[in-house]
Amino acid sequence: MKWSEGDSIPEWVMPEVSAERMRTMAALLRDPNPLHWDREAVAALPMNLGHRTINQGPLGLSYMVNMLQAWAGPACIRRLVTRFPQVVLDGECVVARGKVTRVSVENGEHIADCDIWLEHAERGVLLEGEARVALPD
């Protein structure tokens, strides 16, 4: 596989962020935050988000993980730094995208440093960060 700086990573689409998956995730994480399972709690916030639950940060991040693994393999991720400029809401279609910023060889491995982000068609970039990925031979 040949990759170089500036190459785009094939996108990964979550067609509809699921409130039910958020509920399962909240149970797995032992996360008491009602924003992830109580639409009334979200509607009461002064953020005009409506009656929609807010996706857990790690769950939004996982869509970018899925993109990287589909691209470079299931054990490819070496480092992932993610920031959260906007929330992800249930019912939304979001797309994970990325771009290679540097390719190098370290300890015999081909390593790609990448900018990654999660995007919504109207609201723009919801999550953003950097990934370090081992590329397959």
Binding site: L28, S62, L80
Partner: protein
Amino acid sequence: MYSVPAEADINALLGHRFAGGNYRLEHWENVLLTGCTGADLLPDGLAHPVALFHLPITGSGTSIAEMFALGQAESDLSIMIESYDWEIFEPLREEQDYRVEGCIASAERCNEGEREYDRIQFVFDVSEEGRPVARSTITWHYTRNTL
């Protein structure tokens, strides 16, 4: 109006260590976790990397609720994420016993214009038989009087 914690109380969190402990990600848990992400189960017993959020927290003997309480969060709704930094030295696997140690690596009061919040950084180290497997760094903002 919520009572803002004393800055000295926040600063005193620096160096706080969690009890430490072990965590085994069971197959059923990885199946559910992976399903939540919309991905297929990974091959060869690999765990979905999203486990790097809750595995270190639970494994180190703490919980999201305790992390909220340590920073005196004014409510469960008041935490904002600055960043998650996951370093993976070896892929995580199902049914594997991991040792986890965790601490608070940074705790400070921040002021940005009229916005006052406390920034707390948690660092968790995951290892297997002494070999480093992963490090998770969680940085949260504890907002004050914003709700």
